[in-house]
């Protein structure tokens, strides 16, 4: 188990009213998994992503990543965990301007305290996403798809335990989005654990497991497991932890889910 969350609770107070953004969530990711977290806006999936990504701490519950308990750590310790165990892919790429692709990819290594060999590692990571040629380009000289590739290279350069992708194709046209998804699937095929937060049913259904959230909870029976997760196609028999027929109706989850 790479990631193990138990009973996560996160409460926000907004103008006197309290909102339980997470209301007792259990969530695991196994090694080599490709899992989608879906749900409507406000369902708590972003909050969950933040906690899984060690950007935030749960108010209650436990969260272990690679055997370390991350639920009660200081901001700096969390930063260390992020650096060591987590690679982020954002919807809006979030590359730093005025820095070349290579320098962007080097950043996690530098924050890890590496002083030698960072250039080479960054170059390898860029080669892995097919951008070896463009490593000296700055983000504004790259297309959207290329930027996201640089961001992916940055996410995997530190060889993280898990890659967290937040709507990775949200800012891309469908063709480029498809390329990015293919890349993500290829990385998963190499054995990397990846969690994708998405609204896009097309993306969700390409993941081996799909977790559906509503009102701060993982909907019981809303989880779909798809065979061995052969990429791009949904195998005939999806086995679900509960029953896939229990799939929630009130939400944006697509018909495609219930096969």
């Amino acid at each position: 188990m790479m990631i193990q969350a138990r009973g996560l609770v996160k409460v926000f107070t907004l103008g006197g009213t309290t909102l339980r953004a997470l209301d007792g969530v259990d969530f695991d990711v196994d090694k080599g998994e490709l899992v989608a977290i879906t749900g409507a806006s406000g369902s708590g999936k972003s909050t969950m992503m933040n906690i899984l990504g060690c950007l935030d701490r749960p108010d209650e519950g436990t969260y272990e990543i690679a055997g370390e308990n991350a639920a009660k750590l200081s901001a700096d310790r969390l930063a260390e965990l992020r650096n060591k165990y987590i690679g982020f892919i954002f919807q809006s790429f979030n590359l730093l301007p005025r820095m070349s692709a290579q320098e962007n990819v080097e950043l996690p290594l530098l924050y890890a305290g590496m002083t030698r060999g960072t250039k080479e590692k960054a170059r390898d990571a860029l080669a892995r996403v097919g951008l070896a040629e463009r490593m000296h380009h700055e983000p504004n000289q790259l297309s959207g798809g290329q930027r996201q590739r640089v961001a992916i290279a940055r996410a995997l350069v530190n060889d993280p335990t898990i890659i967290l992708a937040d709507e990775p194709t949200g800012n891309l046209d469908s063709k480029t989005g498809e390329e990015i998804m293919k890349l993500i699937e290829a990385l998963n095929a190499e054995g990397r654990s990846i969690a994708i937060v998405t609204h896009d049913p097309g993306i969700a259904k390409r993941c081996k497991r799909e977790v559906f959230m509503r009102d701060g909870r993982v909907v019981p029976g809303g989880t779909i497991i798809r065979g061995d997760g052969s990429h791009g196609t949904v195998p005939g028999a999806a086995t679900a932890t509960g029953s896939s027929l229990d799939a929630p109706s009130a939400n944006s989850l697509p018909e495609a889910k219930a096969t």
Partner: protein, 401 residues
Amino acid sequence: MLILTIAKVALRSLLANKLRSFLAMLGIIIGVGAVISMLALGTGVQKQSLDRITAMGSNLLVIRPASRGSGGVNSGTQQNMTLADALAIVKLEDVKEVAPVVGGNAQLKYLNKNTRTSLIGTTPSYFTSRAFDIDTGRGFTEAEAAGSAHVIVIGPVTATNLFGTAPAVGETVKLNGLNFTVVGVLKSKGDQGYFNPDDQVLLPYTTAMKQLFGVAYLREIDIQAVDGADLNEVQDRVTDLLRARHHLEDDAPEDFTVRNQADLIETRNETNRTFTLLLGGIASISLLVGGIGIMNIMLVTVTERTREIGVRKSLGAKHRDILGQFLIEAVLMSGVGGILGVLAGFGGAKIVEKAMGIPTIVEMTSVVLSLGFSAGVGIFFGFYPARRAANMDPIEALRYE
């Protein structure tokens, strides 16, 4: 992260906003420039006045009558120092020479040329005690001094005023209607601001007292002590002697003042230190204002780059990484500003020198000091914005549009 890497990034973000960075630095540039040129001015003035005092000659004691009046009301100087006082002083131990001095102003006339200048009636020893050298001709002799001879020694400026480039020695000029022969011209000492030693006339004191001004009292007695004498001891002896000669009661204040060169230098230094401190203080305020300008820009920068901060944190940047990055940016800005300011300071000092005719001396210490100070300003005023950046919540920062 390596400082060099951070500095590179900081430099790039400064260059990305050239005008803004420059405007933010301008405060520091002006501040450091002001500090350096003001201190250079102060040092220059200090050195100049020291030179002036040493130019007066060495081992010098100057006795002047005390101010007349009481309760802070000054009604001129007392008339109580006589030639006899001067003659008595010569006999004291360690006194080498004494020069009685009377002074005034007079109109000098040569052919159709006129000049008004100051007159010093004295003895030949004045030349040595005040370090006047003769350029052409000679000084007047003891015999001439004692015998009311109509001879004068004139300063180089006076000579030029009257004779142009023609030789002055041997010519006869009219002084208040009397004929005088120019026997010598002094070597130039240089203008000293409030009075010009190159534009004056030296003549025998007897002539000055009896024939020109009709006075019986001296304006000043210059005493030159022998080399190696303790000036303070000589000063005490002179004071005792004059008190006795002036029949002063034990508790009565002196009706004369004795100043020695060390006193003069001390007083001048005191004044100059205050002056330099004042200039430096005013200049430091502009450095402070410059620092506030940097803080302002850094706050804007931090807000603008909130998202970048969020991204860096998501990649594992710790509190000190972000703090360091923005601090280095601020210090870089104030440091570069400081360097440009030093250059501006050198330029400013030159301009002051040209415009005001006061020599300026840029001291290495003031350069090092103001560079250090401007870096300090960067740290001090960069700290608050940098801390603000470092304390940002990564989630909020990532969400910032």
